[in-house]
C-alpha cells in the first residue's frame, strides 16, 4: 500500500509494562491478557491518516528485560518516534524512566519525538504512580504524556497518532531532511518529495519486514 511517509517507531520500557499489548491493540484492535514474552524485537505496522495523507507507521517493539538492553540500543538509530512506557501500578517501572531516557538520548537522533505512556490506566485502583507525577516527569524532560490502557484501548490510538502528528509537524517545519533516512522517515511514492527527493534505492535496514 502506498504512503506519503513512513515513520519508524520504537517502543521501550521495563519488562511487563505492556509494550507488546499496546502494539497489538493499535495494530489489531485486540487485547491479549497473556501476551508472549518479547524476545529481542518484534514488528508491527499500520496505516494512519494525518492531514489527509496516508502515513505508514512501522513499529519496533522491544524486549524490556535488562539483559536485552544492549540489543535494544541498536534499534534507536533511525527511529522518528519513541513510545516510552511504564506501568502505573508498578512504581519501579516509573523509577526506571530516567535510565530509559538516557539510553534514548544517547542512541537516538536528537529530533526523535518521545511519547511517555503510563499504561494500565484501567487498573486505577492499584495505581502506584499518580497522573501528576507522570505529567511532571514528561514536562521536565520535554516529552508528550498520556495515560493509556492497552486493555480498554483508551488513548492507544491517540498515543500513536499524536506522536505521528508531532513528527509530521516537524517535517512541515523543516526540522528533518526527509531524504536522510537516519531520521526514521521515509518518503513514499505518493508522498511529497523532500529537498532531494525520496530515494527508494537506499533501502532502510527495516526493508520489507512488515509490508
Amino acid at each position: 500500500m502506498s504512503y506519503a511517509y513512513l515513520f519508524k517507531y520504537i517502543i521501550i520500557g521495563d519488562t511487563g509494562v505492556g509494550k507488546s499489548c499496546l502494539l497489538l491493540q493499535f495494530t489489531d484492535k485486540r487485547f491479549q491478557p497473556v501476551h508472549d514474552l518479547t524476545i529481542g524485537v518484534e514488528f508491527g505496522a499500520r496505516m494512519i491518516t494525518i492531514d489527509n495523507k496516508p502515513i505508514k507507521l512501522q513499529i519496533w517493539d522491544t524486549a524490556g528485560q535488562e539483559s536485552f538492553r544492549s540489543i535494544t540500543r541498536s534499534y534507536y538509530r533511525g527511529a522518528a518516534g519513541a513510545l516510552l512506557v511504564y506501568d502505573i501500578t508498578r512504581r519501579e517501572t516509573f523509577n526506571h524512566l530516567a535510565s530509559w531516557l538516557e539510553d534514548a538520548r544517547q542512541h537516538a537522533n536528537a529530533n526523535m519525538t518521545i511519547m511517555l505512556i503510563g499504561n494500565k490506566s484501567d487498573l486505577a485502583h492499584r495505581r502506584a504512580v499518580s497522573t501528576e507525577e507522570g505529567e511532571q516527569f514528561a514536562k521536565e524532560n520535554g516529552l508528550i504524556f498520556m495515560e493509556a490502557s492497552a486493555k480498554t484501548a483508551q488513548n492507544v490510538e491517540e498515543a500513536f497518532i499524536n506522536t505521528a502528528g508531532t513528527i509530521y509537524k516537524k517535517i512541515q517545519d523543516g526540522v528533518f531532511d526527509v531524504s536522510n533516512e537516519s531520521y526514521g522517515i521515509k518518503v513514499g511514492y505518493g508522498g511529497i518529495p523532500g529537498p532531494s527527493g525520496g530515494k527508494d534505492g537506499s533501502a532502510s535496514q527495516a526493508g520489507g519486514c512488515c509490508s
Binding site: 511487563g16 497473556v34 501476551h35 508472549d36 536485552f68
Partner: protein
C-alpha cells in the same frame, strides 16, 4: 480467519491452525501461509524421518568403532541400561508425578530424559569421548578443580563440537592406532569419514521431531557431562525454604560468581522475574501446563544459580 467451514468444532479447528507441529503458536498473519504449506512441511518431515531411519538402521562398520576402538568406553556401551541408569536423574526427580500428568495429557508432550536408542550410540559415544577429552585437557591445563562446571570449559566444548566433523575425526580416539581399526585401517577410516559426512548432511537437513530429544542428548554427550545430583543440589534451597538461604553451595564455589551482587539474594532477584514470565512463556503451549511450568521454573532457577553471570534471561 473468516467464516470457518467446519463450524461444528470451531475450537479444535482454531487450535490446529494456530499452532505448528511443535505446539508453538502461529502468528495470525502467518496462519494462512502456514496452512498452505502444511502438507509440504509434513512431507519434508516424513522424508527426514526416512533418511534418518535409513541411516540409523544401516549397519555401518564405523558404528562399531567407538565401542571396540576405545577401551574406556567399553563398559558403558556394553551395558544397555547404562544410559538410562544415570540420565533419569535429570529434571523430573523432584516431582515425577507432575511429569507423568503432563505426558499423558498432551499430544505435544515434552520429552523428558529418554533412553538413547542403541542405533544412536555411535553418535553418543563420539560426543562423550570429545567431552571427556576436553574436560581432561582443561583440567591438566589449568589445574582447576571446579573446571567441570566452569563456563570456559562449557564453551570450549561447544566450540570443539562445531568443528567440521571430518577434521575432528582423529581426535576422537578413532585414530589408526586404535585396536579395532588396526586390522584394516584404510577401509575403516574411509568409512568413518563417510559416516560422519552423512551425519553432518543429515543434521543440516534437520532433525525429525521424533528423534529430537534423543539426538540432543547424544550430541550433547549427556552421559559424560552429567554430574550426579548437581541439578538437585542447585534446587535444594527451594525444597528447604526455611534455611535455604544458607545453602548457596555451588554458587559459593566462586568459580564464576563474579557478578556484583552478593550471593545470598541473587537467586531471589531472578525469582520474581521468572514468576512473572512463566505464564507468558509460550502461553497455551501444550507442554506448558501446570507440570510443564513447574519443570520450567526449576530449570530456569537451577540455571540462574549455575551461571549467575547470566542468571535468568527471557
Amino acid at each position: 480467519m473468516k467464516a470457518k467451514p467446519q463450524i461444528l468444532n470451531p475450537p479444535l479447528v482454531a487450535f490446529e491452525h494456530k499452532r505448528d507441529a511443535y505446539g508453538f503458536a502461529v502468528r495470525p498473519q502467518h496462519v494462512q501461509r502456514y496452512r498452505e504449506y502444511a502438507t509440504i512441511y509434513k512431507e519434508e518431515e516424513e522424508e527426514r524421518s526416512d533418511r534418518w531411519k535409513d541411516f540409523l538402521e544401516r549397519p555401518s562398520e564405523f558404528v562399531q568403532l567407538p565401542v571396540n576402538g576405545s577401551p574406556s568406553e567399553e563398559p558403558k556401551v556394553a551395558s544397555p541400561d547404562d544410559g538410562s541408569e544415570k540420565i533419569p536423574e535429570g529434571d523430573d526427580l523432584n516431582e515425577p508425578e507432575a511429569h507423568e500428568d503432563e505426558v499423558s495429557k498432551t499430544t505435544h508432550r515434552a520429552q523428558i530424559w529418554a533412553q538413547i536408542r542403541p542405533s544412536l550410540r555411535a553418535i553418543e559415544d563420539m560426543m562423550n569421548a570429545r567431552v571427556k577429552k576436553k574436560i581432561s585437557a582443561t583440567k591438566t591445563e589449568q589445574d582447576v578443580e571446579a573446571g567441570e562446571d566452569s563456563e570456559d570449559e562449557f564453551y570450549d566444548v561447544e566450540r570443539s563440537e562445531s568443528d567440521p566433523i571430518p577434521e575432528v575425526l582423529s581426535s576422537d580416539g578413532v585414530s589408526v592406532a586404535t585396536p579395532g581399526v588396526a586390522s584394516n585401517p584404510a577401509v575403516s577410516l574411509e568409512s568413518s569419514i563417510l559416516w560422519k559426512q552423512e551425519l553432518e548432511f543429515l543434521v543440516q537437513g534437520g532433525v525429525p521431531m521424533a528423534l529430537r530429544g534423543e539426538l540432543w542428548q547424544a550430541f550433547v554427550g549427556v552421559k559424560s557431562r552429567h554430574v550426579k545430583n548437581y541439578y538437585q543440589n542447585l534446587l535444594l534451597p527451594d525444597n528447604k525454604k526455611e534455611n535455604g538461604v544458607d545453602h548457596q553451595k555451588s554458587d559459593g564455589d566462586e568459580a564464576n560468581n563474579k557478578s556484583t551482587l552478593d550471593s545470598v539474594d541473587v537467586p531471589e532477584k531472578w525469582k520474581l522475574q521468572i514468576e512473572k514470565d512463566l505464564p507468558r512463556t509460550f502461553p497455551g503451549h501444550p507442554a506448558l501446563d501446570e507440570g510443564g511450568r513447574n519443570a520450567l521454573r526449576r530449570l530456569l532457577t537451577a540455571y540462574a544459580r549455575h551461571n549467575p553471570s547470566v542468571g535468568y534471561c527471557q
